[in-house]
């Protein structure tokens, strides 16, 4: 019994944290989303459910489609880049494994904004890459316009979230028994067959976790599109952010946030269900 009480006590700080820093602010966001504003643009609580009608204005369809497309592209690219990296580290990293993982995380010790601004310097019209291209004899001023394009935004998002793909895949690969791969080969599987029938199914959990960790925040990201984006890269995160800090209408921003959260929660539930299934099957 005392052990039971101790466990409950240990849960308290976490529960408090969740209550104070998540549940309460979330309640405020819901309240604001149903309110209006005073003459100074400050939120006033009330009952204005029409704020939610505005969210479904056809005007915003392209913004939502674009955000989803960018997030999917980001997730796919992160997977294509991240899986081989995780595979190399897990299988051939040897005693350098931990060091290599630390090196992947290392840039994340620098502030997010600083790292995005660094891309402005690298990819700018008169930046490092275009300078190099010019020196190599490419023409045009600049040889290639990188910045302010959808490519820059997706590239920036991939750069932002890549470790979130690499880490879970790496963890899954590390958990996997390497002798499974040998077994696959012993059964005359080609490397590709072995990968498709042995390694991939054994690490699919890590891939799905990585896809969720990359895809969900990428949908709502706004700083990348704001700094690296152009006129045609406006994402739903930018729309929400502009309501709050750009002199916009707070209740609309709050309603948008809630709708986005509900949509993303569906994806999250789908993930949690798919994550629990194989565990059941194995046990």
């Amino acid at each position: 019994m005392t052990a039971n009480r101790l466990w409950r006590l240990l849960l308290a700080p976490g529960a408090l944290w969740l209550l104070v820093l998540f549940v309460a602010p979330f309640g405020v966001v819901i309240a604001v989303s149903l309110g209006t504003t005073d003459i100074l643009g400050r939120p006033v609580f009330g009952w204005y459910p029409e704020n939610y009608q505005q969210v479904f204005d056809p005007l915003f369809v392209p913004v939502i489609v674009r955000s989803a497309a960018f997030a999917v592209a980001t997730t796919v690219l992160c997977l294509v880049i991240g899986y081989p990296v995780a595979y190399m580290i897990a299988r051939y990293g040897g005693r350098f494994r931990n060091l290599l993982i630390v090196l992947i995380i290392l840039p994340w010790f620098a502030d997010y904004l600083v790292r995005i601004y660094a891309w402005v310097v690298i990819l700018g019209d008169e930046g490092v890459v275009n300078g190099l291209l010019q020196a190599l004899g490419f023409h045009g001023s600049p040889p290639v316009i990188f910045l302010n394009t959808p490519f820059a935004v997706v590239g920036g998002l991939v750069y932002d979230y890549l470790p979130f793909m690499i880490l879970p895949i790496y963890a899954a690969l590390e958990r996997m028994n390497p002798s499974l791969i040998e077994a696959g080969k012993d059964l005359y599987g080609t490397p590709l067959q072995t990968f498709l029938h042995v390694t991939w199914p054994a690490t699919i959990q890590g891939v799905v976790a990585g896809a969720v960790l990359v895809g969900l925040p990428a949908v709502g990201d706004f700083a990348t599109a704001q700094i690296l984006g152009g006129p045609n890269t406006y994402m739903v995160g930018n729309l929400i952010q502009e309501q709050f800090t750009g002199g916009g209408y707070w209740p609309f921003g709050a309603a948008l946030s809630i709708v986005l959260m509900v949509l993303l929660s569906f994806l999250m539930i789908f993930y949690l269900r798919s994550a629990s299934r194989p565990t059941e099957a194995m046990s």
């Binding site: 003459i39 930046g127 300078g131 930018n238 800090t245």
Partner: protein, 380 residues
Amino acid sequence: MASEIWKADFNRREFLRGGAALGLGGTALWLAAACGGGTAGAGSTPTPINYPKAVIDGDLEYFNWSEYLDPDTIKGFEKQYGVKVHQTNFDNMQGMMAKINAGVPYDVTFPTMDFVDQLVKANVLLPIDHTQLVNWGEVPSYFNDPWYDPKALYSVPYALWTTGICWRTDKVQGLTGSWSDFWTLAPNYNGKIFLLDDFQETLGMSLLRNKKDINSGSRSDLDSAVAEILKIKSNLRGFSTDDITNLVSGSAWVHHAWSGDVYQVINQVNNPEVFKYEVASEGVPTGNDTFVIPKNAQHPGTALKFIDWMLAPEHATANVNYFGYPQVTTTGIAAYQKLVAQYPFLSLTLDQAIHGLREIVPTGAKLQLWDSEWTKVKAG
């Protein structure tokens, strides 16, 4: 040219302006204010006017854009009066408003003129008795009764600016001193033109070009202003308030820009001779910052002394030479004219400032209209 970017001194203000995005801390504060007090409402009854006296009453809590006031002038003030100036910075006007409305006890802060009007309506500023300011005589007579603050009861003017077009003379030809330049240049300079990511500036600009009121509240006026912007949107490089970064890095050949930022660009590049700035014949949006003392200030006496210190001719001159904006005092404007003597296109007279166009922060239903029209521009 490629090496130029390394010389660019990314100053904190422009950097943060881009990152203002992340200023959600202020958001939370504002919410707290909205939930908690709500006493600072627009309609509360006026209390009897209680003017603070210009007597040093402690260290100064100072709240401004970063790098927007000469640090040596601040050090001089600390030394003269034996106080400390504790500096805090904001990234944008919304962040400043959030903290002041939440009652954070800053002694002096620097809203732009249209936000002074809002702060006065919110009843969160202390009145200022001009007889307490030895150097009040330096303030040009118009600013004894400016449009945004009748009788200058709550604010002292600080820096002036205009909004116009900055361009590279080595890359772009054919500017005519009209907002239409964006439209005529767009097809020829695809991907080299930026408009400001600021709904008042950019919708206002398009309204002016259509010969409409810069603060129009009419849906049809705004619809056609938006339609015009959408015509050139695919040729634009983007919407951005990082005009300094975009021009210095070479991404922008033509930029909808603020005059003071143009001076900063000229100061940062090694080919300053190629940058020029024009204002448009259809109308020149003009603005100024101010000094104000929030109601919750704990040291309003020191704040008054500080404002007075900044109005003094020698300090205004030093400050203008530092930040490149004309400070609204007789001496400050003269110092600015001297500073930009070699760049006559940056010349900004008091007369221009007084007769310039004023952007007024939209509120209520008008805010919702402007906001949804701006979303059409950004999302369309």
